[in-house]
Subunit: 157 residues, 2 copies
DNA sequence: ATGTTTTAAACCAAATCTGACCTTTGCATA
DNA sequence: TATGCAAAGGTCAGATTTGGTTTAAAACAT
């Protein structure tokens, strides 16, 4: 029994997959009517699943002709991963964001699917036992930052 | 005369046996109602009988559409991965021992060199910031156990 | 008798969903 | 031109729906 948020997420990602440019423009009210939910539900989905650390940017415009624009961010071959991602990661990384980040890295061809699954298996809340939430989010951020530094090094040598 | 925990264990294992994929998704509340017990009883069973060392992985999600997912790893006796999972890792793993373990896994062809380097970069003491030594060694052990469980699962699928 | 496993209960945390109220923008028209 | 209305979208707090953790007592085994 997939949740409404999950369905909306899938729907938007399907739209993005159709667009070669990696940009989708849509109306919030269209989505909320399509899924028969309150408009703020859409904001919830955008803010939990389409953040920079997960490889997305969201721009909006109010008023007549308003829209929600979702952009899938692309990483270049020669981009410095740390420059591109350290800010987005910050000093705290929740399990949810972390899984979004690994999915992004996989989708961008930076890590393999296997690596994504292995990282995810190590970084779950359930695995980081006996720690406060803020400690967990802290070391997740730290681990991903250092992992990216190592990836970067391997790319440039 | 068989204990409640035992019954719940058998029930879950029967569900798993029905699934060719070796994956079962179910709600904790469904189980606790079915067995007419408190919900935490389910957690007790999961944490005592469905651990990575015992050949299972458990994933959960809270909130609407939440679930408990139990994955059977189908371990074969007598292989290196299995040995590493059950013997080499205790409940504590120092940075040094951890690097020894990743080197061993690499030698045995279980992980790639790149994976070894990435894991090592994430699991250093200085990366696991703000924790007591025993906490660090603890979650390192937990992370490696879960990582190996995932490796094992991927091997069989 | 003692130690271990099991069970229950009270309390905690995370993810989702809703609704009331607010802000911005474009356009029509006084 | 000023201004008011309609048409977007935004924010936030609280309710709802799951699952998690801790602790103490009960049951069981040695």
């Amino acid at each position: 029994m997939s949740s409404l948020s999950k369905q909306i997420e899938e729907y938007i990602k399907a739209l993005l997959a159709q667009e070669t440019a990696g940009v989708v423009e849509i109306q919030r009210n269209f989505l909320s009517e399509y899924f028969n939910c309150v408009p703020s539900q859409i904001n919830y989905v955008l803010s939990t699943r389409f953040t920079p650390v997960q490889g997305y940017m969201v721009e909006t415009r109010r008023g007549g002709g308003g829209f929600v624009r979702i952009v899938s961010l692309q990483l270049d071959e020669d981009d410095d991963l740390q420059d591109a991602l350290t800010d987005a990661i910050g000093s705290q990384l929740t399990q949810n964001d972390c899984e979004g980040l690994t999915a992004y890295l996989y989708q961008q061809g930076i890590i393999t699917q296997r690596e994504m699954l292995l990282f995810n298996s190590m970084l779950k809340d359930r695995v980081l036992t006996g720690l406060e939430k803020s400690q967990r989010d802290n070391i997740r951020a730290s681990m991903m930052q250092h992992m990216l530094a190592m990836l970067n090094m391997m790319r440039h040598t």
